[in-house]
């Protein structure tokens, strides 16, 4: 079991995401593919014109959950390296809020792993965005993370 010489790059950032640096980070001579996902701020939401977004996170937990996603990517897909950066704070229209780069020897694994990463991130990572419009602001409709099953009250030992 070869241990990675270079680890995955996982980060929450407040400045613009350096996409080239993330791509460079995952790309090595043995890779035949680098697949990236660029999540960017859209100028409309539910038919209203968006002015800008403000992202906040439960930072320690969010980084832990992003780390879990990277670990699952390596378990599920024959990929080489992962880079995931999510930006926090105020973002203007067109700016990148999340960027994912995945490298692999052959393209199918990198495509599938990248899709898995963004879909899982949107469901499980504690980050929230507030959408600002001309006439007010709302917290975006989100997704409920999968919560653990409730345990029943302690039963007497049988």
């Amino acid at each position: 079991m070869a241990k990675l010489l270079q680890p995955d790059l996982l980060a929450l950032v407040r400045d613009p995401i350096d996409q080239a640096a993330l791509i460079h980070h995952v790309h090595a001579a043995e890779d035949g593919a680098v697949v990236t996902f660029d999540g960017c701020v859209r100028n409309h939401s539910h038919g209203r014109r968006t002015l800008y977004l403000d992202y906040e996170a439960y930072e320690s937990m969010a980084l832990g959950k992003i780390r879990e996603i990277a670990e699952q990517m390596h378990e599920k897909f024959p990929i080489h390296l992962v880079a995931i950066a999510h930006r926090l704070g105020r973002l203007e229209i067109g700016e990148t809020s999340v960027f994912i780069a995945v490298s692999s020897a052959h393209r199918p694994a990198a495509f599938e792993a990248c899709r898995f990463a963004i879909d899982t991130l949107k469901r499980t990572v504690p980050i929230w965005k507030k959408e600002y419009f001309e006439d007010g602001a709302v917290w975006a409709d989100g997704e409920m993370p999968p919560a653990p099953l409730e345990t029943r009250a302690a039963k007497p030992a049988s």
């Binding site: 439960y58 999510h86 917290w139 409730e150 345990t151």
Partner: protein, 100 residues
């Protein structure tokens, strides 16, 4: 059960029972409802997260209305509402997530 709504040094306990002091975090719209992001509170050792939430819900009825669309976490892991709490635990109440 004594209730003090000021942030920072709340207590839900009587003097006789073993107690736990936990850190409580609020995010997104919950932070706006409660009026602060962080609290520290004392409660009977082993109390479930549900009891802690009920305390804040009693002081902030609008918060209680969101109960069905929240998840809780304990020490940075999603946790069932029945999860018992002990001293030093960090609990957070999380609205539906909307990153990406």
């Amino acid at each position: 059960m004594a209730r003090h709504s000021s942030a920072g040094y709340n207590s839900l306990v009587s003097l006789s029972s073993p107690t736990a002091r936990v850190k409580v975090l609020f995010f997104g719209r919950l932070k706006e409802i409660v009026g602060h992001a962080e609290d520290s509170i004392e409660l009977p050792d082993g109390s479930p997260i549900e009891v802690l939430f009920s305390h804040y819900g009693a002081n902030h009825p609008e918060l209680a209305r969101y109960r069905a669309s929240l998840v809780a976490s304990r020490n940075q892991e999603f946790a069932a509402w029945s999860t018992p709490l002990h001293s030093g635990d960090e609990v957070a109440f999380l609205p539906p997530v909307s990153g990406g």
